[in-house]
Subunit: 201 residues, 2 copies
């Protein structure tokens, strides 16, 4: 019979995530994870598996949460869809410029370190990027349905392009690019989105 | 008197770069570097310094080369500037989608792993991103001078936006995003760039 778990699983996984996020996968040892969580090797292995399984568990949760939080930020009536998208991306630009976010997002960091040789990580990263893209596409479709975006705009093409801008912000923000430049990238991209003739009037 | 160097410095640094690029900084030990270069610890230390100094040396060279190669790809008369920019970014999209490039670019990888806690890396990465941005801006200025880009376009704003797209391509490409989607991001971004009235006719 398995011993009852005498720890808070969510709290342990948060500590594991912080460790991987700050130090990276390779630089994190099982000893680091034991120290960060206060658990012995046996408890960690028994509950979550090895270091790779632990990483995938927190990476998975981070990826799912990333898509969910963008969906939540963008959900609402067609009427404000374009403005919600704009505010979301501007917020991402500001966040990316913050010194506290200098370590970047765990999705970007894990992908940069592991995707080339770890199919499980690459697969989850791709699915996450596609989930973010689909969320942008849906929001653009709503904006188009409301008449804020011109009928000739292909929401799928623009959703993909905005995904590139969104991930680019993250990439250059963690090198220390300043906030006005990052916000300007969003303003320029959305300023180029063709609007409906009736909105221009 | 220093012993004469009996190795090819460029070849050694290539081996060092490949090692850091494939495995990352933390996962690379001095033993790995000795094995990759065929040199003893004393020779490596004597010629280049410690692991951090070795990393900075290859990261620096990679960054300088990145900006130089973009400059070279974009240089030319005003007449073809916009088309050169388009071809360069489409080429970057194709390269980013290639399986062989799945490890991503060393600039992105090094920044993701180290910028948060290594000021020397962050400083070089930022300078590189700004160098790439300035190169795009210059190319857009040429295109505008030639009349391919509308006078109301601010080349600085568009140069920054295209930097975001360029780095975003790299970020999602290494997760396995397909080539048509990546090339489509470039086409959508440049398709939204306002062109001169005389070109539209």
């Amino acid at each position: 019979m398995a011993r009852p778990r005498t720890f808070d699983e969510a709290q342990v996984l948060r500590a594991v995530r912080e460790q991987f996020w700050s130090k990276g996968y390779a630089a994190t040892s099982m000893d680091d994870l034991m120290q960060a969580t206060g658990l012995g090797k046996g408890s960690l292995y028994g509950a979550f598996g090895d270091k790779h399984q632990l990483f995938l568990k927190v990476f998975d949760a981070y990826c799912v949460n990333s898509v969910e939080s963008v969906k939540k930020a963008l959900e609402g009536p067609d009427a404000g869809a374009l403005e919600r998208l704009r505010q979301y991306l501007l917020g991402a630009a500001t966040a990316s410029a913050a010194q506290a976010n200098r370590r970047g997002c765990l999705l970007a960091r894990g992908t940069a370190e592991l995707a080339a040789r770890d199919g499980a990580v690459a697969e989850r990263a791709l699915k996450t990027f596609q989930g973010l893209e689909a969320t942008f596409v849906r929001c653009l479709e709503q904006a188009q349905a409301h008449g804020d975006v011109a009928p000739q705009v292909d929401p799928r093409k623009w959703g993909a392009m905005l995904l590139a801008v969104f991930r680019g912000l993250e990439a250059v923000g963690k090198a220390g690019m300043d906030e006005p430049t990052l916000r300007g990238m969003v303003e320029t991209a959305l300023g180029a989105l063709p609007v409906s003739a009736k909105r221009r009037r």
